[in-house]
Amino acid sequence: MADFKNVFRDAIAAAQEKLEAQAPGAQQFLRDVADAHKKSLASLLAAFADGKIDQPTLESELADEKLVFQGELLAVQAIAKKAAQDAANAFFDVIDKALVAGIGGLL
């Protein structure tokens, strides 16, 4: 029968592997989102400083920018949820296989 100390170690490694595989994509997207937010704020403030937009328009556009940023962060949240789901399933796959193999020996 499988040694459960090893089974848990393998399960954790499988989960970690899934998380590590998806982390770079999520980090890059988060960097892109932060960059877009920074550029957007800078251009908005420049338009206000140049007198191209008035105070109420600036405030309205800042509120929109906040909403857009929120939407982008929701996408990051979806990516993180899928990574957590894949990691949890990789973990339980290892445990399930070991249990089935162990129980199979008893039957």
Partner: protein, 157 residues
């Protein structure tokens, strides 16, 4: 140990093992935090974004060619996009474990409606803000597409 006790013990282990196999059959289900990928949602987002781009391109052309900017010129395009966004919303709201996509589409709807109402109320649009609004919607559609594609399984095309 008497042969009778040994048999009883074996039967107990066997029953326990069968119980675990049955439990694993149920537990074998996958953990779910987020809905599966939907090709229909992905295509709906791309189609709607295409219509948004056509509208902003038409408004950009109006600025470049000094043609009328009044709402009526663009009303049909606004109505078409509004309808497409409502379909997106309906589709996303009907999916379980889909809070992120629902949230993004809700923001798309609220910003697009705001831009449309501003245009209708002022009977024109501010050319300084045209690029900004176009970019805001592009960022949101990109986010919605990212959220949808994140749901794909590694072997899913």
């Amino acid at each position: 140990m008497t042969p009778f006790r040994a048999r009883t013990r074996y039967a107990r282990h066997r029953a326990l093992a069968l119980f675990f196999v049955a439990a694993l059959g149920v537990g074998g289900c996958k953990v779910r935090f987020i809905d599966s990928f939907s090709r229909e949602s992905e295509e709906g987002l791309l189609r709607t974004y295409g219509a948004v781009e056509r509208l902003f391109d038409a408004m950009d052309q109006a600025v470049r060619q000094s043609t009328p900017r009044n709402y009526q010129v663009f009303a049909a395009q606004y109505a078409e996009i509004h309808e497409m966004i409502q379909v997106l919303k309906l589709r996303e709201d009907a999916r379980p474990l889909n809070a992120e996509s629902q949230g993004i589409v809700k923001i798309i709807d609220s910003l697009f409606t705001k831009y449309r109402e501003d245009h209708r109320a002022t009977k024109t649009f501010n050319e300084v803000l045209l690029g900004r609004h176009r970019d805001n919607l592009k960022r949101l559609f990109t986010a919605a597409l990212k959220a949808e594609r994140a749901k794909k399984e590694p072997d899913e095309p």
